[in-house]
Assembly symmetry: C2
């Protein structure tokens, strides 16, 4: 391995001078610089960024910790992060920890001395599980708010999104809206359910919500559909807590002869690419996930430049409604 010493020796200068020349500092004679650069290329010298980080106490790397790497949600977040960090010349150190709080803490520890800052999405949005470990290092929380009122965060307003879609269904004439819940330990799912319940209470007299269990997986959508079909429950609309379940539920109801968009209105949450391609198109809540990543990265960059962010710099991204055929809204075709 060729080090800066080799280059210095070959060029007949000291390591100090070599370092200065290689880093483009102006206080080096053109002639000296040339010699050094020639030696560097001749030896095919590549600086050892690990060593450099140690002396400079700066790694130009941002640690990203996500609970899982599965699905579009996470890849969009990473893409958003990369979008802004790449421009700033930072690398990304990925530390995925597959859900458990302990593994998360472990992953964060392992990043010590290898990153300048941390972007972490705590498992189940439980920020408290990571706070103890991130105290020493600039951190932005993804999709979760800290309990300390000081760590900046970026998240999606699940509650507002659920309100949006529930209101929409009522506007379209629905009176008996079923909600298919997500996993009980998932904060996002709970927020969506809360939005649904609140709107129901506000707008319909009785306000008795009807909630079926679910777990965000497609099977749950099919199961819910079968349950609805066989139970004799009265319903004219279904709001599933995510698109995956909504899509499967829709196709199951259709097979049973129900006309989606007129007999029954259906809506989901997430706006996965599939949502616009099923027939009829699925009405759903759209969040700019990429923006969650890019905004978090921007906050991080500012922190790394020494700015002290307050909690009020945090961003709760407001979702929008994507109205399609499944709620009787669009043309009922696959295209929006």
């Amino acid at each position: 391995m060729v080090t800066i010493r080799d280059v210095a020796k070959a060029a007949g200068v000291s390591v100090a001078t070599a370092s200065r020349a290689l880093n483009g500092m102006s206080i080096v004679t053109a002639k000296t610089r040339e010699k050094i650069e020639a030696a560097a290329t001749a030896l095919d010298y590549v600086p050892h960024s690990g060593a450099r980080s140690l002396t400079k106490r700066k790694t130009d790397t941002i640690g990203v910790i996500l609970p899982d790497l599965f699905g579009e949600f996470f890849s969009e977040i990473i893409r958003g992060i990369d979008l802004v960090t790449h421009r700033a010349g930072k690398s990304l150190l990925l530390g995925n920890m597959h859900g458990s709080a302990e593994e998360t803490a472990q992953a964060i520890r392992a990043m010590r001395g290898r990153v300048d800052g941390l972007l972490v999405m705590p498992p189940n949005s439980r920020a408290d599980t990571v706070e103890a470990v991130t105290r020493d290092i600039p951190t932005v929380l993804l999709n979760a708010q800290g309990t300390d009122d000081v760590t900046p965060f970026v998240s999606v307003d699940n509650y507002a999104g659920a309100r949006l879609v529930t209101n929409h269904l009522i506007d379209r004439g629905a009176r008996n809206i079923i909600h298919i819940a997500g996993p009980a330990n998932n904060r996002d799912a709970r927020e969506r359910q809360r939005g649904y319940c609140d709107v129901l209470a506000e707008r319909t007299g009785n306000g008795s919500p009807l909630i079926l269990p679910g777990d965000f997986r497609d099977d749950a959508g099919r199961e819910a559909a079968r349950l609805l079909l066989t139970s004799g429950i009265t319903f004219d609309a279904v709001f599933a807590s995510n698109d995956m379940m909504a899509v499967e539920l829709m196709s199951e109801l259709r097979v049973a002869g129900l006309q989606i968009g007129s007999d029954i209105l259906v809506a989901g949450f997430d706006d996965i690419p599939l949502a616009r391609h099923v027939t009829p198109g699925l009405t759903t809540v759209h969040s700019d996930i990429t923006r969650v990543g890019s905004t978090a990265a921007e906050l991080m960059l500012r922190m790394m430049e020494g700015e002290t962010l307050e909690r009020d710099q945090s961003l709760i991204i407001a979702p929008t409604l994507a109205i399609r055929g499944s709620s009787g809204g669009g043309a009922g075709t696959a295209r929006t």
Copy 2:
């Protein structure tokens, strides 16, 4: 920042002993170890892995360099990689380089001293653009074969996949199969086209292929459809070089009144999630992309353990055919 010196001082031992105790070496007295561990927890000591990497000449990190982070393809690869590296306790350093060969080389250089090995997917599968830079470090190529006959690689057999699907269309009775090409500078696209041409030459007498330009984007699918509809070209099947174009083409042809699966057979390549959800389902070529990532990671791990892999350890993943309604195969519904 609390270092190992602080811990040593607090415990009343030397840094050497502290290091040994903290790393679980057996040659430390139980009593000494206890003192040290107590001090470490009291001070909330977290080892600086950057410094550790420098002395041990080992980072426990694998560099991953992809041309882009967009879409399912890349996220599946990363997921595959993570699947095996996570088990081995390695982190992933992401260096995306957005396409250009120079940026790629730059990204690889920047990883020097920060990773133990490199998983790189060269832009446009041009392995030669990265070979000069990766010589000093264990490397596995993704979706590209090196020119040096020595760097291991993992890729998908685009040629075989294209043969599979073309044969299938002919088996289903197609006689005039149009191919919609991908970007000219994309090796995958060229391989797919080559497979199509070869099968045509082998099985149909005339063997005159009919190829329309494309670029993998949805617009190209629609344009090709319009061209076909207005030009008066005789055709009874279309093989698009990716699903995106196939899906759009299909919906455009359907609007024009053609019956997909009977009047016209359509097939794509990639098996994106959408493929099984459109109506009719899209017949396409399925590759286990996650496996590309996981296999590459496994090869890397073996190299890192000192094994010298030969080129014949490389893997070309054989794709399979997913037959659905668009080629007259399935029930013509959205479900497979």
